[in-house]
Amino acid sequence: MATQDIIARSATTTHSPSIRQIDEVAKLIDVSKCIGCKACQVACSEWNDLRDEVGHNHGTYESPADLSADSWTLMRFAEHEDEAGKLEWLIRKDGCMHCAEPGCLTACPSPGAIVQYANGIVDFNQDHCIGCGYCITGCPFDVPRISKKDNKAYKCSLCSDRVGVGQEPACVKTCPTGAIVFGSKEDMKDHAAERIVDLKSRGYENAGLYDPPGVGGTHVMYVLHHADKPALYSGLPADPSIDPMVHVWKGVAKPLGLLAMGATALIGFFHYLRVGRNVVEEDEPGAVGDAAVHKVDPAVHEFDPKAPR
């Protein structure tokens, strides 16, 4: 992706170049087709030249235990039994959702460390990343991770390098069952609609698309069999949005804070200008009797300023 494709840039108050009109892309993850094979995890690490640590089994199929700077996507497995006792193994590919209103970008203090391209990809530029972790604070999906090696933040780039040359992301290409598909956001919504019809015909009455409006929609969307209960899928937030505290912090607090500081200084300035300085008028030589030694404070030592030091 190139400079002209950037529509938003972290810690930048002016507009970014937005001359190029390119289609929004989206990755659609059809959870009902996903078999949790982790091909996407492996393909992601292979393409991005990442090798996480060889960890431990923690009593589940989930591995590694969590997203990390070296694992940008992760299959999360949840076993759910419905009221009728029917078991469902709900497997969700976790990773960056590429929000239209990205909390990470909002929170980032370093200009250009996080950029959003016109096609919707939210990308981290580690060259500008200062490692503060504000992106983690800002993210409603708990996705970015700071590397222990270099203290830079990392996450899924939606393979911006591949998408930039006209290819699909590595996870999409590899997905054996076609659970992950990629295309224009519009096409993906159409595709999702078809899938939802199929799922409803198979008894999943609450099947639906997960494209949460709270973050302006996402460029990674899910088809869920239980769209009414996203939390079933290893805690997918039902109505994610940028946290109000982050909003205040990176919203009104910023200009108001500066304003408050500037105003305080200005008030001082005008006070000085109008009221003038506060001087001790009578403070002239000989006005007060000279004592050679002054007791400064009852608790403190005695000191003779005239004595040689």
Partner: protein, 813 residues
């Protein structure tokens, strides 16, 4: 596979049983999701565990490991009783009307002719058809004869009532009936179910019969030869199909030709026995051409040195004295264990990890004088002598085996072809040099062969003839090229081939042959594997073709690579059309049909292309009957119909079908070696039914050497149900010790809702899931070889070990 991967998209119903396609074959499983998404198909999974295949299934039913014949037998009975079978198909394309000999009987778990001392059926004389005076088998098209196959079949499975099946399998009856009803719907002509199975059926002491039961089900439903149907063995390794086709098995020669036995001293009799004549009038019985294939093979191997005068080198073939399959790996390792084997070669094979009872395998290897490993990776077998604590607790100094480890290239570093489970021969190209001094297997075999030949030529030795006479026409004798070898197994005309009728020149001497129909038994053709004949024609390498066009839109890409036999994509595809030659699914998926002059369509017809429907030739042209067999005649070791026997280690201790006779608790015809029977455990000491399997993140014992795969599944674990976890006080993440009567492993417990205790024969049976992928070498965390636990017994026909059903105990470690 009778069909192939892409063809699964044509299915209306997919039954995954005895396999876990989503995990073991994810990219093939794609065609299941395609069938669901675009053919409105349903997916049924029947498995002891709620697998990743089950996670996307429409219906899932649990089953106790090792009880599949009961499930399928019950289903067969249900279909017959409820008239849910494809009548026209069954009547015309199967042996239901054939009359079985009077000597056939089934009584109290035994078929006729059992010999208890020999643990088998040395006398199978009753297991055949009544033959008429015309030399053909007798049939009763009205199916009223009490000994016609249909009535015997019906009688045999009448014992498999839903209650009995539910009690044997532990499958709750409502779930079972739901599955059966859904399957029964595909008996409608044109409704197709595919069965996808793998080692979940193969690796049992009754594995072959489980698969037969599946095939019988498909015949009843009219699903064999159909697009979207078939019996689809998913197969395990990238070229396990090819190496089997090429006959790298204890009793085979290339192309499913078989080695002679000691008794077969006469060449003509050897051929005659295999070149079966038709059992019904007008049938093709393609194996009549056996000698053409055999002679062409011997010409490919021995060239000018064989002729009719020396019976085409018949004496140079070793003869088998052991019953089929001869010297299979279990037998060889038992011999090795007894000190009767001195040398052993492992070419890309890791037996200490892959064979049952690791302790026995390790002890056997330690008795070898020399062991040669050819592998790209440092396998456990190559270091079976190294002490790796509890994982491999051996005394190195005591092991006197000389071990040679030869580094080989991997797939990326060589040209050649592999055969996938859809029987496609696909060519691949070298992308880089192998690391260090690694060489190809071909180079190594050539290097060994030349040294041996030179020694035998100069020093003499035992029976040097086949070694000295082997034809080695390769331009670089030390390194035959993949292309030369491919041309050799595909086959060529040695001299000009002319049409015997017209005298016209068919193939110029020295040219590649177009297909196995051109092979001859007079020494004028050579083909190292008749089934592969036509894979490299005079037009070039057919395996390297890359035209993926699909003109009929049903996934039969005839221009992509090359499929045996004769580039056919679906076996028995003549059966996809009715007797008159019209497709069962006329508009939707016409596969192969009669166009008035010849057979044709989306696939290469598996038939005599110019035989009109009214000629009465039947679709199963490899069988002398011309039809498919429900009754296996004498082909199976334990009987013509599959019968449920318990695994050798059974959690219920008896066979509910024959509760009073311990001789038929488990397969009465399965071979058990001395000492191994004593190592079987009982439910009293080892109460839980265990099964071993692959995970999608790993491939056997290879990918633990790959960092990326080690990351996504790093450490050995076992799966237990929440109920058992509660009973034993085991929580997810705890370490547990799992032991069988042969050893123990320790692993992390995954406590899951996906395994549920089942009620079997009135008892609660817990099942334990044990993935296989860890060992004492590689990048993933060290673990125990799972086969420490498994019993040393195989299927009665194939001797494939019973890895899927055995008993263990579980305790907190």
């Amino acid at each position: 596979m009778t069909n192939h991967w892409t063809d699964i998209k044509n299915a209306d119903l997919v039954l995954i049983m005895g396999g876990n396609a989503a995990e073991a074959h994810p990219c093939g499983f794609k065609w299941v999701t395609e069938a669901k998404a675009h053919n409105n198909a349903k997916l049924i999974v029947v498995d002891p565990r709620f697998t990743r295949s089950a996670s996307v299934a429409d219906l899932y039913a649990p089953i106790r490991t090792g009880s599949d014949i009961a499930f399928l037998g019950g289903l067969i009975s249900y279909l017959i009783e409820n008239d849910k079978y494809q009548h026209e198909y069954v009547r015309n394309y199967t042996d239901v009307s054939f009359i079985v000999r009077e000597g056939y009987d089934f009584e109290a778990g035994f078929f006729s002719g059992y010999d208890e001392a020999k643990r088998g059926y040395p006398d199978k004389s009753g297991w055949g058809y009544e033959i008429g005076e015309d030399g053909f088998a007798k049939v009763d098209p009205t199916l009223s004869h009490p000994r016609c196959v249909f009535n015997l079949l019906k009688k045999h499975y009448s014992r498999y009532t839903p209650d009995m099946v539910s009690s044997i399998c532990g499958t709750p009856k409502t779930q079972m009936m739901q599955v059966w009803d859904t399957i029964a719907e595909t008996s409608a002509p044109g409704k197709v179910m595919t069965i996808m199975y793998a080692l979940g059926w193969t690796q049992h002491s009754t594995g072959s019969q489980m698969i037969r039961a599946g095939a019988m089900l498909q015949l009843l439903l009219g699903n064999i030869g159909m697009p979207g149907g078939g019996m689809n063995a998913l197969r395990g390794h990238s070229n396990i199909q090819g190496l089997t086709d090429l006959g790298l098995l204890s009793n085979l020669l290339p192309g499913y030709l078989t080695l002679p036995s000691d008794a077969e001293q006469d060449y003509a009799a050897y051929i005659a026995k295999r070149a079966s004549k038709p059992l019904r009038p007008g049938q093709l019985s393609y194996w009549q051409n056996y000698e053409k294939f055999h002679v062409s093979l011997m010409k490919a191997w021995y060239g000018k040195n064989v002729s009719a005068d020396n019976n085409w080198g018949y004496d140079w073939l070793p003869k088998l004295d052991a019953p089929a399959p001869g010297y299979d790996v279990l037998k060889v390792f038992d011999m090795m264990y007894q000190g009767k084997v001195n040398g052993y070669f492992c070419q890309g094979f890791n037996p200490i990890a892959s064979f049952p009872n690791k302790a026995k395998i390790g002890a056997a290897l330690a008795k070898l004088k020399y062991l040669v490993i050819m592998d790209p990776l440092a396998t456990e077998t190559s270091e079976f002598w190294r002490n790796v604590d509890e994982f491999n607790d051996v005394n190195t100094a005591d092991i006197q085996t000389e071990v040679f480890r030869l580094p080989t290239s991997c797939f990326a570093e060589e040209d050649g072809s592999l055969v996938n489970s859809g029987r496609w021969l696909q060519w691949h190209w070298k992308g880089a040099e192998p690391p260090g001094k690694a060489r190809t297997d071909i180079q190594i075999m050539a290097g060994l062969y030349h040294r041996l030949r030179n020694m035998y030529a100069t020093d003499g030795g035992k029976f040097p003839d086949p070694i000295l006479n082997l034809d080695w026409p390769y331009l670089q004798p030390d390194e035959p090229s993949a292309e030369e070898l491919a041309r050799e197994y595909s086959g060529k005309a040695i001299t000009d081939l002319t049409d015997p009728a017209t005298g016209a020149l068919l193939v110029k001497g020295g040219d590649q042959l177009a297909g196995f129909a051109q092979l001859r038994a007079d020494g004028s053709t050579s083909s190292g594997c008749w089934l592969f004949c036509g894979s490299w024609t005079q037009q070039g390498n057919q395996m390297a073709r890359r035209d993926n066009s699909d003109p009929y839109g049903i996934g039969q890409t005839l221009g992509w690579a090359w499929s045996w036999p004769a580039n056919r994509r679906i076996l028995y595809n003549r059966a996809s059309a009715d007797v008159s030659g019209k497709p069962w699914q006329d508009l939707k998926k016409p596969l192969v049909f009669w166009n008035g002059k010849s057979w044709g369509g989306a696939d290469v017809p598996d038939f005599k292309a110019d035989s009109p429907p009214e000629a009465g030739m039947n679709p199963f042209i490899m069988n002398p009957e011309g039809v498919a067999r429900f009754f296996a005649v004498d082909k199976m070791a334990e009987g013509p119909f599959p019968e449920h026997y318990e695994p050798f280690e059974t959690p219920i201790g008896r066979n509910p079908l024959h509760p009073d006779d311990p001789r038929v608790t488990s397969n009465p015809a399965a071979r058990v070696f001395k000492g191994d029977m004593e190592l079987f455990g009982s439910a009293a000491d080892f109460p839980y039914a265990a099964t071993t399997y692959r995970l999608t993140e790993h491939f056997h014992f290879w990918t633990k050497h790959c960092r990326l795969n080690a990351i996504v599944q790093p450490e050995q674990f076992v799966e237990i149900s929440e109920a058992l976890g509660k009973e034993l006080g085991i929580a997810a993440g705890d370490w547990v010790k799992v032991s069988s009567n042969r050893g123990y492993i320790k692993a992390v417990a995954v406590v899951t809702k996906r395994l549920k205790p089942l009620t079997v024969d009135g008892k609660t049976v817990h099942q334990i899931g044990i993935p296989i992928h860890w060992g004492f070498s590689g990048t993933a965390r060290n673990g125990y070889l799972t086969n420490t636990l498994t019993p040393f017994v195989g299927d009665a026909n194939t001797q494939t070990p019973e890895f899927k059903s055995f008993l263990v105990n579980v305790e907190k470690a």
